[in-house]
Symmetry: C2
Subunit: 578 residues, 2 copies
């Protein structure tokens, strides 16, 4: 074993209990996390938050642009165009543009040692990365996510912090399982005619090579961390291609990966970053690069499908988005259901791949214990519930946060205009004043009510706080429309309210076929689209919302290959040289 | 549970011990099989062989064409163009052409029940298929393989019989493992603020849909059975597309699958066959069919790469072929090494995807305990060893068997002409008289000696008994050339003779990177390219010889998806109807 291997084995021992906890959680899929869910419960929280904020601020170029140093090979000129959705001012951070060929060279050089150490050595080093991100960079990354993706501080801490770290560990669990399913050695012995043939066999895990990992603008770490972990744990190298609007969270992450790898005795160029700009995008170049072995992509349906179609011979793992659907058939407590729906429609201004968009309601209304509530009344009450969340700026700031991209505001205006022509505007969007950041880019949700004939309007993801209440013939039609749209246009999540067990059972089957993860009759404190690592599978692969799931074996099992050598057991005999 | 599920569970119990043995073998990869390797050890062998021969003969249309009935939906006119390589006479078997759209319809209809029963029910039914093939059809299939693929009876019994059944069981083991990694249910409970949220979660395994399984002309069952098992065990349906020259073995197989499925209470249209003809090939139509979810392909590198490139959005699993390489650096017993090589070069006239083709030798020769044997002498002695195996017709018939396709004879003539111009003919091919079938299409091997400048000649698979002794600068160059060719042109197997442990270690690393499975210093009774189910991985996915391996988790894990539903634990409250 090399010194690096020995040190890496030490890391595995250090994190063994945490890893074992994760393994058990993945098996039974109960609620588990090694991390406190609330920022206040973080060890020595106030001091850690202050340090995190200071670390974030130290990245900013307040007077002159400031270079974020990664010390990568092949660095050329600099770029950087991040703007905080909270201040609408440039962050002033510059990153070195990197020559992709040099990154591939460096990654290829780094692969050998990394891919040849025992699986647990790699897992140990990557568990150390998780721990380092948690202990030393969590609040710094939370602020970086806030001021690029535009999330609220609490969501940045959880969704882009501890929950994303949980998904990272989860990927390591499956990488461990898939690789340990291959025995490293075997003794094989059989009769062939009168002879006994005895062979010693050695099986080697060989990585695919260099993976390119795209991270998205609104939720950079949640998919990127587990994707990076899946590739690295199986012996590959990773080049991260962050969205140009949201580079800093990944730059901090890449630096931590590089530091821990180097401390463990490995080549830091196993993880590099290839930032680009809107004017000179690198995405297609990287996907089509002859040395790209795998692509992990999170982002739009359109580019995701381009990746799936064009990645060959590279493998692709995509998570995009879609029309997440809601079916309202009946409810024991309709107002509680509408409040839950309203919260989820508002959460981070619906800039989540799990946010609901299309709400299918029978034309005759929704059954409740006190009678049927008419469709128009359901729309009105849902809009009122959303409006109630947006009226108080402090509450709105916590839930809605900001709008990541100015394009989203343009989309809202366009949708409002079309919606007014073709249906009814249930709730018009407006900016709300953020109590801490007066310049914040904000908007309350746009809600429209339309007939099912307006499918071209609601039949694709409208990224941002846009939702549609869709009048359907009846309950059966509502379910048929919703599941058809999820299957055709993509859908990660689905939400159903029904007290009719027969209908629920039909919906479970129909959504299973459509490939959307279904939440039934949930009301109360939990955001409906909350997805728990170790328990909730994210994306099914059965519809256009993506081809890869967080996390099961298929997410990792094809990232490495198995080669073998076999030879007789007899010892070799020396032969004189030429 | 449905009646079918109950019956299926009974099958699993019946075959539990056999399945458990296979599971353990896959874990430790030792030598194991539930089946006797020799035909003579089959239970009541003589009677079984006679019955098998009679069953085969009953398929033949001796006077008039005879229809092979499958009772599939959408049957139209008939086709059939199989010719026995042993008699060069038409088999006279007709198969119903099937309308692919009807097969997809029927498969889609069949999917529901099959995909919803417990995993072990499907595995049990498929273990029953394996058992039925073994107990009732093994010799019938062996004769069918002989008279279509042209294998010897012994190879047809083992390689296309019991070993292929072993690979089928192996695929079931991994399908079992990948699916049981997903718990069917979970209880999840967490605090959100002051509330406790408790959710009951249900996870469903959802198949991809309909898989198309291509089987090849020379080795139909060895890849097709495990591919079918992998798809079916994970809940999918399969349409088999046999090579038009070798339909009968798959037709018998498909009929057995259909019978067992029906007896177990499932829809037999889970497995259908879509035969085609050389004049009206169906392959590309099936790969591009919008309802194809997966493609398993065995055959040429060229068509395999077309499949990989064009299958999207279907997944592809390919096994093609390549330039399998041999490096001769030094040998403790050179003649023993050359005898082993000669046998392997002759085995089924090198019409195996694992047959060696390119033999790389240092220009100065091969080191042995009694001194260095010059390159020309090595070539001469290897040709003599091959010739010795071909001189005695009875022995030749057992080893060489026949030439599956007339095109192979044309290729031999063409290669001989080019080889004579650009190098040296070490051994010229000739027909040998088969002792039992005087009309058999036969050929002894063509062996050429060339310089490494003739890479366009040896740098692709020349399907059939063609091999090249290639003069390299030195030992290092021989290894570099061989591994580069495997990496670039594809290679499943590789064979090394060296008594230098440093060189062996280099070769193990280099071949691991090139993605060819390496056999070192093997002499004696075992054919060098023998691949044992449960122990030897077949194909790595690292070079153009295919993207899928028999068998590890990656072969099965992506054939199904996981969907979930979650709901509060509280019981539902009845609500009056509309």
């Amino acid at each position: 074993m090399t010194a690096a291997a020995v040190r890496g084995a030490g890391y595995f021992e250090r994190h063994r209990d945490r890893f074992e906890g994760a393994r058990q959680a993945c098996a039974v899929r109960n609620c588990w996390s090694p991390f406190p869910e609330l920022p206040a419960k973080y060890p020595d929280a106030a001091a850690a938050q202050a340090r995190g904020l200071a670390a974030f601020q130290a990245h900013l170029g307040s007077d002159a642009p400031r270079l974020f140093e990664l010390d990568q090979p092949g660095e050329a000129d600099t770029l950087g165009e991040e703007v905080s959705p909270y201040t609408q001012a440039a962050l002033g951070i510059r990153y070195c543009r990197a020559d992709p060929d040099r990154l591939f060279d460096a990654a290829a050089n780094a692969l050998g040692d990394w891919s040849r150490v025992p699986v647990d050595t790699r897992i140990g080093v990557l568990m150390e990365v998780v721990d380092r991100l948690y202990r030393e960079h969590l609040f710094e990354i939370a602020h970086a996510v806030m001021h690029t993706a535009g999330q609220s501080f609490n969501m940045a801490y959880t969704g882009s912090g501890v929950n994303a770290l949980d998904r990272a560990i989860e990927a390591l669990v499956y990488a461990h399982q898939a690789q340990h399913a291959v025995t490293p050695q075997a003794h094989w012995e059989r009769q062939f005619g009168p002879s006994t043939i005895a062979l010693q066999k050695t099986y080697r895990l060989v990585p695919r090579g260099v993976a390119v990992c795209f991270s998205c603008a609104s939720f950079p770490t949640w998919n990127a961390w587990p994707s990076m972990m899946a590739s690295l744990a199986t012996g590959n190298a990773v080049i991260v291609k962050p969205h140009p609007a949201t580079v800093l969270p990944m730059a901090i992450s890449v630096r931590v990966f590089r530091q821990v790898l180097q401390e463990a005795g490995f080549d830091p160029n196993l993880v590099t970053m290839a930032p680009d700009s809107r004017d000179a995008p690198l995405g297609k170049i990287l996907v089509r690069h002859p040395r790209t072995a795998m692509v992990d992509f999170t982002g739009s349906v359109q580019f995701g499908q381009w990746v799936e179609r064009n990645a060959y011979p590279a493998l692709s793992f995509t998570e995009t988005a879609g029309c997440n659907t809601v079916v309202l058939e009946s409810a024991n407590d309709l107002d509680a259901a509408l409040r839950s729906l309203a919260t989820t429609l508002c959460m981070f201004s619906a800039q989540m791949c799990t946010s609901p968009q299309n709400i299918y309601v029978p034309a005759r209304g929704v059954r409740t214990p006190s009678g049927t509530v008419a469709l128009d009344e359901v729309g009105r009450r849902l809009a009122a519930a959303v409006d109630a969340l947006c009226r108080e700026p402090k509450k709105a700031a916590m839930i809605l946060a900001t709008i990541q991209s100015p394009q989203t505001l343009a989309l809202l205006a366009q949708m409002q205009q079309q919606g007014a022509q073709r249906g009814q505007v249930l709730l018009a969007p407006r900016s709300y004043p953020h109590p801490e950041f007066p310049q914040a880019r904000t908007s309350t949700p746009l809600m429209l009510q339309v007939g099912k004939g307006e499918r071209d309007l609601y039949g694709e993801e409208r990224f941002g706080p846009v939702s549609f209440v869709i009048a359907c013939d009846d309950a059966a039609d509502a379910l048929a429309q919703a599941t058809r749209d999820a299957r055709e246009f993509g859908g990660l999540t689905a939400f159903l309210y029904s007290e009719d067990e027969g209908y629920v059972a039909q919906a479970e089957q129909a959504y299973a076929q459509a490939g959307a993860q279904l939440t039934i009759n949930r009301t109360g404190a939990m955001p409906l689209n909350f997805a728990a690592a170790y328990s909730d599978y994210h994306v099914t692969g059965l519809n256009p919302a993506g081809n890869a799931a967080l996390t099961h074996l298929a997410f990792v099992a094809n990232r490495f290959c198995v080669t073998q050598s076999r030879r007789p057991l007899a010892p070799p005999v020396p032969i004189p040289p030429l």
